[in-house]
Amino acid sequence: MADSGVVETLLQRIEKADDGVDSLNVAASLGVDHQVIVGAVKSLQALGDIISADLRSSKHWELTVEGSEIAEQGSHEARVFSSIPLEGLAQSELMKLSFGKIGFSKAMSNKWIRVDKTQEGGPRIFRAVENIEDQVREKLLQVQKGNFSQLDEKEKNELKKRKLLSEVGSWKEKKFKPYNFEAMGVAPDCGHLHPLMKVRTQFRQIFLEMGFTEMPTNNFIESSFWNFDSLFQPQQHPARDQHDTFFLSDPALAHEFPQDYLERVKKVHSEGGFGSQGYKYDWKIEEAQKNILRTHTTAVSARMLYKLAQQKFTPVKYFSIDRVFRNETLDATHLAEFHQIEGVVADYGLTLGDLMGILHQFFTKLGITKLRFKPAYNPYTEPSMEVFSYHEGLKKWVEVGNSGVFRPEMLLPMGLPEDVSVIAWGLSLERPTMIKYGINNIRELVGHKVNLQMVYDGPICRLDS
């Protein structure tokens, strides 16, 4: 609490003055430190709506330590002058004094003293004038009193050069508004990546870390042959219906197929072979030629496996993450197009145990370690397994993917060696993204109705936590 006397005086002064008082002037006239006045101002402000205070910036000058010494004892050159008696002083003696060296050259340039070098016993210094005015000391005393406006800029800068004065920013007297640490900062102006694509980047990363090579999936339009027939999915199957598949009107038909392979596919469907009874129906090339928007990226896996079979076999691991199209009922979690994630491993002697093993490795990278497998059915895999993981929150097992071993009727007509097994699994990209980012309606994630604020605010994607 400030000195109440000062507070009262200040209040009286303010009352009397028409357009306010300057705190520095008040301090000077009362002969108190400026900080005392500042304290008084603060006290008055704390009491309520009594005074209003304006902050003004001004340069404020202070004496350095050396400057204070001089203000007290006089400048070096003045002290030099006063230490010289009528008969003069040997220079060597003068130099012994603490203020000698600096004071001598200054006194000389002020023409207050003269040197007689002809004296025996060395150079001797004599007073050159009767009296001096210690202007430096005067000026410093003015500043000390607070009247630094009395000095002009040139004088102040000179004294500053001699390190007798220092300039002090007036921030010391400023009142700083306290920071509101509860408020938010300014949001940086930046771009953002789409959450689904962020999740895709992570899945890509996972596959690459596991040694999987990316398949070229940049073909949305596929022939029924590669999408269905090569996968041993029969013609006349529900999935090939109008209501599950988008057929193209232009270009309506594919016009090029590996002919020998096509014949083998036709045979295995209609008559059997390669150890199979086949489906025993009339296989029609017209059905196979029909172009569609691919219903799964497994069509690309088929192309890749066929390509692999045309050369000497080496084990491979392939993956892809890309768009597929299904003409199905649409609802809050289903769209006509979505992204499929697929992994494929081909090698000699792979077992169902191997499939489960690699699924464990894959899902562990997603932070999922508890898995269970359920018998399922796909036209092109046997055995087929649905993959379930335990959801701690919902306290139940939820399906996280589908997997299986490709059927011999698919692999052998391609020309792959008989003891090569191909295991594969897949899941959708949208589902884990919606879970990760807490989105309930898929239309807020994909498509033009995306919630842009959600895109702006989306966190980095860490799939394993």
Partner: protein, 538 residues
Amino acid sequence: MPTVGIKRDLLFKALGRTYTDEEFDELCFEFGLELDEITSEKEIVSREQGDTKASDASDVILYKIDVPANRYDLLCLEGLVRGLQVFKNKLEAPRYRRISPVNGDPQKLIITKETAAVRPFAVAAVLRNITFTQERYDSFIELQEKLHQNICRKRSLVAIGTHDLDTISGPFTYTAKPPGDISFKPLNQTKEYTATELMSLYKTDSHLRHYLHIIEDKPVYPIIYDSNGIVLSMPPIINGDHSKITLQTKNVFIECTATDLTKAKIVLDMMVTMFSEYCSQPFTKEKLSGEFINRKVGINESTEKIAQLLTRMCLLSRATGVGDEIEVEIPPTRSDVIHACDIMEDAAIAYGFNNITRTTPRAYTVANQFPLNKLTELLRQDLAAAGFTEALNFALVARTTLLPGLLKTIAANRKMPLPLKLFEVSDVVLKDETKDVGARNSRRFCAVYYNKSPGFEVIHGLLDRTMQLLEVKSARGEGYHIQAADGKNSTFFPGRCAEIIVRGKTVGRLGVLHPDVINRFELTMPCSAMEIDIEPFL
């Protein structure tokens, strides 16, 4: 996946014990079924038609069970129970045998050549000494319906007709006649109709009208008569009223007419095996080695044990004693078994998938990224760093350019603060005769700037930045430059559209959007955009 609705209590009665919902769910999981829903008729009607209509409906608990699409033998209570009982070792795997009738010759179905024009194939069988309870009867009808919807492809491939054998007499004739020449009293009607009249009559029948097209425009319609000229059925539309099955029926004549003979046989097998212990087809036997099963699954079981596992799946098996050879009987109920791998899967299911030891594929492989995707990933990061936000639009809608998708995204997000700066790097589809399917994808980069002022310089700046990222100099010829595009492009404002040329070839364009385009997309502010093909930069 096909779904069967089974009354829970009936199911448990047939299984010989009750289960909690969790226990039954677990059993389904092991076997490969899914307990999709536990409901009642009342709940279903209430949901579909409202509570008032539901007040009369039964509230007997129903289990809706999803069944694998290739297991027609699990489409009814009888088949489901049999499968589960054998799986749990409660029942021995049934063996189906054909038997001769006690007195006289087997029945005959004569197929005439006229059927070739409309529905060439037919198979038939007789079920004797059947006793129908209401439930069994309902199940019998329900199975026909399920088979019709699934394997029969809505009756177009196969149609089933079932008749009370004691009301008719063989030999039976399956032929085809012009519609005007066919006349009979159809099921649940009181008078005779010609086939032509029936086509009109059933046009308003909510159930039957979906099947009329299968034969409607044909010159002749299929028809089955008994030796006295009584019409059994006009497949695939309707049976005759005369031979209809009642709860008192003891002997059933089943006919399946078809355009696919294989499927007709499968369907017939299902009908007889589900409702009898005897059938008209002998079983087939396959031989395989225990080693094959062990090797493919990744287990190590003795030959005898494997035979036991298979038997639990209704594939009656025994070790022959010759090395590790196993002889497996494939019953007619298992039309899904067409390769040894189908048998192997059943062994794995009986063993229990979750009992198999996990192993890891040993092959060492070095991963490679698909170059176009690698480029895309790298670009996306820096485009976001340049201050643009990524959008993701439907491919179905914007087939040949990404711009409409981005404009729609802006229109749907108009309340967001300006400027809106969006981009997308994604595929469009183009026709390409050099490709086997006649089309290919093209990877594009598209960006838009939407603000109170068009911001051409902003989009231009983004282009410059992109070229910088792709190490393409700003230089005519060896690098890139932009030049005024001709006025023909109606997307952009005339005089404010430029072609982007890289090393002499056009890769895209940029410009201020034409006000007509702005309006068409229901936007209200100026907008500038650019789109380029990024494949030349690989």
